[in-house]
């Protein structure tokens, strides 16, 4: 049985975490908090809170899945800097593993899922 409390680095990625990592892959060097949230919103309709997003990003960074650096500050941001995120090799590997597992489970079931 999967223990909820195994150390997070060994844990399979959750759905929300996969969404975030996919957004990073898509956005390439344009990924910062707002653009990630809008990407997820546009593609999935899910309005992810900034608090949830940054909590996940912090954890990814601690695991070496992503790196970040500060970018420019704009007037619209009230002088606060953007923080850009990049997915790193371990993150890509984890994302591929999670996605792979899901798609293998889903293979050949598209018709059945649509029928319901």
């Amino acid at each position: 049985m999967q223990n909820k409390y195994t150390p997070s680095s060994d844990r399979a990625l959750g759905e929300f975490e996969q969404l975030v990592l996919f957004a990073l892959v898509r956005l390439e060097d344009q990924a910062y908090g707002l653009s990630i949230r809008r990407e997820i919103l546009l593609r999935t309709g899910r309005d992810v809170s900034a608090g949830a997003l940054f909590t996940a990003l912090e954890r990814f960074e601690a695991r070496g899945y992503v790196s970040s650096q500060f970018g420019e500050s704009t007037q619209a941001r009230g002088g606060k800097r953007k923080r850009y995120y990049r997915i790193e090799a371990p993150g890509v590997k984890a994302l591929a593993r999670a996605h792979d597992a899901l798609s293998r489970m889903a293979r050949g079931l598209t018709q059945k899922l649509k029928a319901v």
């Binding site: 809170s49 900034a50 949830a52 500050s73 002088g79 800097r81 953007k82």
Partner: protein, 326 residues
């Protein structure tokens, strides 16, 4: 036009710090300024900003609570409890005024309930520690004209009661008595009562060690004592052979003749929540004391005769004192 949400910002600062706080609050400001405010108008944009802020705080707390395990402390279940506790304590410390009021309210509530319960328990719930306790009554004189609805009788009046009453199987008197105990470790103040010898039989309460008083001991000069269970434990060291030992009370040696069982209490029971007797000695009234009609220092317990109801006894005992003997 940068939004001004200082309160929201302060709330965010309670759960996010440093870089993350800057990023979040910058993102919210940017989205508000570039998208939400132009598209939705001032009021709805304001609501949006607050909703985002509160959701962020809630999500942060939820995610932290559930995904920050410290695996070296106890099992998974215990760990969850520790985190919840930690979280609860932190939340309480954040609002000290509310917390203080809550704690004070709970403390007062518990205190008041405990007091009420001790009184109710002693007075109403706990059965009297006597055999056929529903027959046991307290008896009083009454002089409402002088402002004494109930008062203890004088010795001479007690003797009259005993002579005239038909509804009582037995009547026995008690009077307060205290003594200084010496010679058994540190000197100690004992509280108790002088009792008529047959009161234990009246109450149908027998000593667990030794015996009750004998008729001949209820006269001046008989130095015997019956002790409470508590005193037997504290002073006599729960000695099973305590009967026959001597206690030095008020400089006079008294022989222990009996030990009452735990839970026994001597009337009057209005002392239930306060004084608890340590010991009892025989009343031992002298002839002059028996003639006293001026000092109302006795308490009187009676047992209803078989078949007599409380109301019958009340009617029968309602006689006026003979005016000629005033």
């Amino acid at each position: 036009m940068t939004p001004r949400f200082p309160v929201a910002r302060r709330l965010l600062a309670r759960v996010f710090a440093g870089d993350v706080l800057e990023s979040i609050s910058g993102d919210l400001d940017e989205e508000y300024t570039l998208h939400i405010r132009p598209e939705r108008g001032r009021l709805r944009a304001w609501a949006w900003y607050w909703r985002q802020t509160l959701r962020s705080i809630r999500d942060r707390r939820d995610l932290r609570l559930h995904s920050n395990p410290a695996p070296d402390r106890g099992g998974p279940q215990m760990l969850l409890t520790r985190q919840h506790l930690h979280y609860a304590v932190r939340s309480l410390r954040r609002s000290p005024i509310t917390t203080s009021i809550a704690i004070a309210t709970i403390a007062l509530g518990i205190g008041a309930s405990a007091v009420v319960f001790s009184v109710v328990n002693a007075a109403l719930l706990r059965p009297l520690p006597y055999g056929q306790a529903d027959q046991v009554v307290m008896m009083w004189e009454s002089n409402p004209q002088r402002g004494f609805p109930t008062m203890g009788p004088t010795p001479a009046n007690l003797i009259d009661w005993k002579a005239r009453s038909r509804s009582m199987a037995d009547i026995a008197a008690l009077a307060q008595f205290s003594a200084t105990l010496t010679g058994s470790g540190d000197p100690r103040r004992l509280v108790g009562q002088r009792v008529e010898w047959h009161i234990f039989e009246l109450l149908q309460a027998a000593p667990m060690l030794g015996r009750a008083f004998l008729p001949e001991e209820d006269a001046p000069g008989h130095n015997v004592v019956i002790v409470s269970h508590a005193l037997w434990v504290q002073v006599l060291g729960s000695d099973p052979n305590a009967v026959g030992r001597q206690l030095m009370m008020n400089g006079q040696s008294r022989t222990v003749v009996g030990v009452m069982p735990p839970g026994f209490r001597m009337p009057p029971l209005e002392w239930a929540a306060g004084q608890i007797d340590d010991m009892w000695v025989p009343m031992g009234m002298s002839a002059p004391e028996m003639r006293r009609r001026g000092s109302h220092y006795l308490n009187v317990v009676g047992r209803l005769a078989p078949g007599v109801t409380l109301s019958t006894a009340r009617e029968e005992m309602k006689w006026d004192r003979d005016p000629a003997r005033e």
